[in-house]
């Protein structure tokens, strides 16, 4: 059945599926793992850094990008598609600033991207974007962290914590569901993000990039920090040390 209904985007299958969109989701799964965690006053975005060829310069690969002064985007899926999406988002952000004389909120940006992605699911001759994007920012008034995810189908949702792409997004999401709480402080949020990534990524700072977005609730000043390799290695070492202690404790309790 899939054979004849999956070619054209503009054709439904008899059981109501648009196969091209499903296949776009598969493209996302092939991308690098991306995790977003909301803390009480911060957002942590972590991405898997896939091994690069020896002769390639790893600094030219940026997976967490700024879309506007106060909105950051991380993506999973086809990098070239993401590049186009990011460019459209950036122009739209400036356009919004020009006409509204105000900065766009994360939701406005998410809605714009969602509308854009949906348009590519209902026209002939085009294919959907093979990208899932995670938009992160803070509410301009309440300083609340906001994380939105936009899918290739053009749907967008607000998430407390989510994982996309990578070998096993499901495992990562289940891990997040087990361990996320609404009162994570900055360090706990970073910890959780790194632990989630470690579920599917090899240990080591060189295999992940973690960005911490913080806001001061009084001054509303936002800062963005890409954790250095040394810091990351220290955090990972800490996590692994804790993990090693636990079996020993379990053994004590068993005795």
């Amino acid at each position: 059945m899939a054979g004849s209904y999956d070619r054209a985007l503009t054709v439904f299958s008899p059981d109501g599926k648009l196969f091209q969109i499903d296949y776009a989701y598969e493209a996302v799964k092939k991308g690098a793992a991306t995790v977003g965690v909301k803390g009480s006053r911060c957002i942590v975005l972590g991405v898997e850094r896939k091994a690069v060829a020896k002769l390639q310069d790893p600094r030219t690969i940026r997976k967490v990008v700024k879309v506007d002064e106060k909105i950051t985007l991380a993506f999973a899926g086809l990098t070239a598609d993401a590049r186009v999406l990011v460019q459209r988002a950036r122009v739209e952000a400036q356009s919004y600033r020009l006409t509204m004389e105000d900065e766009p909120s994360v939701e406005v940006m998410a809605r714009y991207l969602a509308r854009l992605l949906q348009r590519y699911t209902q026209r002939g001759g085009v294919r959907p974007f093979g990208v899932s994007a995670m938009l992160a920012g803070f509410d301009a008034v309440t300083a609340e962290p906001k994380v939105y995810q936009i899918d290739p189908s053009g749907t967008y949702f607000s998430w407390k914590a989510n994982a996309i792409g990578g070998r096993n997004a499901k495992t990562m999401r289940e891990f997040l569901e087990k361990h996320w709480t609404p009162t994570l402080d900055d360090d706990d949020a970073v910890d959780l993000c790194v632990k989630t990534l470690l579920e599917v990524v090899d240990s080591g700072a060189k295999n992940m990039e973690v960005v911490l977005l913080k806001i001061d609730p009084d001054t509303k000043l936002q800062t963005e920090e890409t954790l250095s390799d040394d810091k990351l290695d220290a955090i990972i070492a800490n996590i692994e040390a804790e993990a090693n202690e636990q079996p020993a404790e379990a053994k004590d309790m068993a005795d």
């Binding site: 700024k66 879309v67 506007d68 002064e69 460019q87 950036r90 122009v91 952000a93 400036q94 356009s95 600033r97 020009l98």
Partner: protein, 185 residues
């Protein structure tokens, strides 16, 4: 309708001054006396506009957003020379379609870099016909009749910031003295 914009650079002490009158008027009516006609393009650039007010505002804001887009896209700020060329290009393309009736003074500061031997302050005189020139001092509008001669006499490359303030005051005094249209601010 802006009546006068003027500006100058302090080469030795690395600063640029861009000034404009503050009245918004049409025909014989003054709408407001506190209009701000010098736009901050980004942390190190100023764009003063003279001439038709709506074109001035629309065009300068458009430039401002494009300059911001460049910075977000490329992670680095446009330098003054590139900005002047971008502005001139936009004006030139619109010239044969629907020209912007606005004269501009772009003042900017650039840090030392492979392009600039040292920190540099520069001023670009861009007129509504899309001509662009790098100048030490410049003036748009009727004010130029009065202020250019003051600059010719008083400007020198080693102006300090205090001397610059005095120079601006001199220009304002001259306008209030000799210019027919009373510009209180």
């Amino acid at each position: 309708m802006t009546d006068c914009t003027f500006g100058f650079v302090g080469q030795k002490h690395k600063f640029v001054v861009v000034a404009a009158d503050r009245s918004a008027a049409r025909s014989i009516v003054v709408f407001k006396q506190d209009e701000d006609k010098v736009l901050e393009l980004d942390a190190s650039k100023l764009l003063g506009s003279a001439g038709s007010a709506p074109d001035g505002v629309a065009f300068t804001e458009f430039i401002q957003k494009n300059v911001a887009l460049y910075e977000i896209d490329n992670g680095t700020r446009l330098d003054t020379f590139a900005t002047a060329n971008f502005i001139r290009n936009e004006l030139a393309q619109a010239l044969r379609r629907g020209p912007y009736q606005t004269n501009l003074l772009l003042g900017g500061l650039d840090r030392e870099s492979p392009l600039y031997a040292d920190d540099e302050a520069s001023l670009y005189y861009i007129d509504y016909l899309a001509s662009s020139n790098k100048v030490n001092f410049g003036c748009h509008g009727y004010a130029s009749n009065f202020i250019l001669s003051i600059f010719d006499k008083e400007w020198h490359p080693d102006l300090t910031v205090d001397q610059a303030k005095d120079l601006v005051q001199k220009c304002i005094d001259e306008l209030q003295n000799r210019f027919l249209i009373n510009l209180p601010e």
